[in-house]
């Protein structure tokens, strides 16, 4: 029914969380051997947060205010759980997942109008 919006919310949230992962000291070290400079990390965290907040818009648009927020939280939970498992078992795949999610978000945004 709202599949376009669902996809958009999910991919945005996934990309946002992935960006946040790479901004965190522990995971950045895990991914890139050494932690990037603080400014880069802060920018990534900001970009991630913006993506998460952006995802709220299509969710509310598709489901109305109250259910939209609930749906947004639901997707947050799923995306973060996925990334948590990914970092534990396949950390190398994080960048791939981020690219897919970001492309997917663009694609879904175009689809959804």
């Amino acid at each position: 029914m709202n599949l376009g919006a669902d996809l958009l919310v999910f991919t945005l949230v996934l990309a946002g969380f992935a960006a946040m992962c790479t901004s965190m000291d522990r995971h950045a070290k895990q991914l890139f051997r050494q932690s990037p400079p603080p400014t880069v990390r802060r920018l990534r965290a900001l970009a991630g947060a913006v993506a998460l907040l952006l995802a709220l818009a299509p969710a509310i648009d598709a489901y109305g205010l109250s259910v939209g927020i609930a749906v947004w939280f639901g997707f947050l939970a799923i995306a973060s759980t996925l990334l948590c498992l990914l970092l534990a078992y396949r950390p190398q795949a994080l960048q791939l997942v981020f690219s897919i999610a970001a492309t997917g978000a663009l694609f879904a945004a175009l689809l959804d109008g």
């Binding site: 799923i78 973060s80 970092l87």
Partner: protein, 670 residues
């Protein structure tokens, strides 16, 4: 924790978290699992009636349906039809026949009823809202399960959120045909006072018209053929179990669950306080590290779905609110709970019609149905109610499927279309008072808890979050035990309390999964025409659960886990095959035919079964981690170790995520 020594906030909270979680943890796990399944209780009930699986919902034969109604119930005061939906592909027909054929009395009767209640049922005075939930609500709900058309009427009489909500359920659920289920039979065994409430509320709900009969028929929408679904306790057993248990007074069951919910809320809040690095550890899970991994898993399942956990627990408490804290209601309405219901009814009730006594043929419904379908191209038509069919004053009312929609306004946005039954003229809907802010908030929370949504996606999200919550509780319970492993190894004996928790963990977690799967097996293996088969389904559930408890008592801890998880895995993963071989629609066919709800059930069972197998395999292969030689001094640094959790979360060293191989090696400096 030593109480004779000064201690910090976090340490106190940690103690609170550990014990508030442990004491009712198995209860909470059962509530979470059955509650999570309840998000799909319509689907589960439908799966449990394989006779209905092959219904063809591609079109609706309205004429045939009306013929059936006219033949079966020519003197009914109300006919109802529930159109096929994504949650149930059958066409449900139901009707209501008055006892003496007298017309429905007006609401003016109600105060007298209330007075009688007060005189006879001292208990009812206190939980008035409870009376609403427990009496009219429960009754109406049961009516809904049987497809009682009076249900919608009675639902209108219920206060605030409940009324709104139950009315929704009438439509969402009228198609749910778990009639005469064991659940309702259990309800009949409730105390006399409860009966009193229920009866009073029921007759009140019907406007005092007394003991109307009601009946229900399920048709194949396209052919109009009558389908005979087996009697089953269905998803409703799981649903009712999750908020009032089984086999005891409902009020007792609700109080027990209410108290458990309170414990859950306490555990949640104290858990957030105990967890020092929520953001830093947000994405952290370190597998194969013994206790560390359990702490990570517990923290991750808690934190990542924390909004869900808080909302579901709080709204659960809210649903029990009128029962547990009736003070506000008593303050406003004194000792007269009926007054509260009346006030709420005035807000929610549209006017009802009364028959003219003059006969008149029913107008052709086809154009009206088409008009309704045209008016709601997206959501479609959920149900149809014909009040006083065959009378000049007949009313035809179409209603959208009752599944939330935008809840921003605090009420369901399901619209209705009303027509004059004799002339086919469009009637203006009665204006409803806008909900107050408090009502809106309450409605939103309760609808979220009950998962009424127009689209399946939010329901699936809730379901997944519920699975996360169940895992949170399960990992927490296991963690309590794992945290005490070291001490146990040191002393070389298992204290009674630890053994008790071990047994309860196996039986409460793996055992419940086995029992749930056995319940679904019982549904298919018990003969469809056996009298009282719904009771047997429930008995199988409890027998299986009890057997798992005995098994856990007899077997060693690890063996018990492996065997029960494997058993749950087999029973659950085999459900799609059981379905296919016992008359249900096989999985490939349900996918091909787009029967999403059957395919969803089967696939879910398959994946979960595989998941249980995997868990069994992991436990089976588990070798306790090679323990690093810890210098004595370091152990003495953490006297709180015995309390387990605080040690884990508080003394959380920021370990770098080293490659897995290195941390297993003995420390270089040791």
């Amino acid at each position: 924790m030593r109480f004779d020594q000064p201690r910090g906030l976090r340490q106190s909270m940690s103690w609170l978290h550990t014990w508030s979680g442990l004491v009712l943890g198995w209860f909470l796990f059962a509530i979470f699992v059955t509650g999570t399944l309840s998000f799909f209780r319509n689907e589960i009930t439908f799966w449990m009636q394989p006779e209905l699986h092959r219904a063809d919902k591609s079109r609706v034969d309205l004429d045939r349906a009306l013929q059936v109604l006219a033949r079966e119930a020519p003197h009914a005061t109300q006919w109802s039809m529930t159109f096929p939906s994504s949650r149930n592909p059958t066409l449900g027909l139901s009707w209501q026949i008055p006892a003496g054929g007298e017309s429905r009395a007006t609401a003016g009767e109600a105060p007298r009823e209330g007075g009688r209640d007060r005189a006879n049922a001292p208990r009812e005075r206190k939980p008035a809202g409870e009376g609403a939930e427990n009496g009219a609500g429960a009754r109406a709900e049961r009516g809904g399960e049987r497809g009682n058309p009076a249900f919608r009427e009675s639902a209108k009489n219920l206060p605030g959120a409940h009324g709104e909500d139950l009315r929704q359920r009438a439509d969402g659920q009228a198609a749910d045909s778990a009639r005469g289920s064991a659940v309702s039979r259990a309800a009949q065994a409730e105390s006399a006072q409860q009966q009193q409430i229920a009866q009073a509320a029921h007759s009140q709900a019907q406007g005092g018209s007394g003991h109307g009969r009601d009946a229900r028929v399920v048709l194949d929408p396209a052919t109009g053929e009558r389908l005979q679904g087996r009697t089953t306790a269905g998803g409703n057993f799981l649903y009712r179990f999750h908020f009032e248990l089984y086999g005891m007074d409902r009020l007792w069951g609700r109080w027990i669950i209410g108290i458990a919910t309170m414990f859950m809320f306490i555990a949640l809040i104290s858990g957030v306080i105990v967890h020092r690095n929520i953001f830093k550890d947000f994405f952290t899970f370190r597998p194969a590290r013994g206790k560390r991994s359990w702490i990570d898993a517990h923290a991750a399942t808690s934190v990542l779905s924390l909004p869900f956990h808080i909302v579901i627990t709080f709204s659960g408490l809210l649903l029990f609110g009128p029962m547990m804290i009736p003070t506000a209601m008593q303050g406003a309405y004194g000792d007269n709970p009926t007054a509260y219901m009346q006030a709420m009814r005035a807000r929610n009730l549209g006017q009802t019609s009364s028959p003219s006594g003059e006969r008149a043929p029913l107008t052709d419904l086809k154009p009206l149905y088409d008009a309704a379908r045209l008016a709601w191209p997206e959501r479609g038509v959920g149900s149809l109610t014909i009040t006083h069919p065959g009378d000049r004053g007949a009313i035809v009312e179409f209603r959208q499927p009752m599944m939330g929609g935008s809840l921003a306004a605090g009420r369901s946005t399901a619209q209705t279309l009303k027509f004059d039954g004799a002339t086919g003229e469009r009637l203006d809907p009665a204006p409803l008072a806008p909900p107050t802010l408090v009502q809106s908030i309450s409605n939103v929370l309760i609808m979220l808890h009950r998962g009424f949504f127009a689209s399946p996606v939010p329901r699936w999200l809730l379901f997944l979050a519920g699975v996360g919550g169940s895992l949170m509780i399960a990992t927490g319970m296991v963690m309590w035990r794992v945290a005490r492993q070291k001490k146990q190894e040191k002393t070389g004996r298992t204290p009674f309390g630890h053994r008790l928790v071990e047994i309860s963990n196996v039986a409460g977690i793996a055992g419940l999964l086995v029992a749930t799967a056995a319940y679904f097996w019982a549904n298919r293996l018990i003969p469809a025409d056996l009298p009282g088969r719904a009771d047997w389904e429930i008995r199988v559930f409890f027998i299986a659960w009890a057997a798992m408890l005995v098994h856990a008592l007899l077997r060693r801890h690890k063996a018990a886990w492996v065997e029960q998880l494997a058993c749950a895995g087999f029973l659950t993963a085999a459900l799609p095959f059981v379905n296919a071989f016992t008359g249900g629609l096989p999985l490939p066919a349900s996918i091909a035919l787009g029967q999403g709800l059957l395919a969803g059930f089967d696939l879910c069972a398959l994946f979960m079964g595989i998941g249980f197998f995997y868990a069994a395999w992991k436990v089976c292969r588990h070798v306790p981690r090679v323990r690093r030689e810890v210098p004595e001094a370091s152990a003495a640094d953490h006297p709180a170790d015995a309390d387990g959790l605080e040690d884990g979360l508080r003394v959380l060293p920021v370990e770098p995520l080293a490659p897995a191989a290195t941390h297993l090696q003995p420390e270089a400096n040791a």
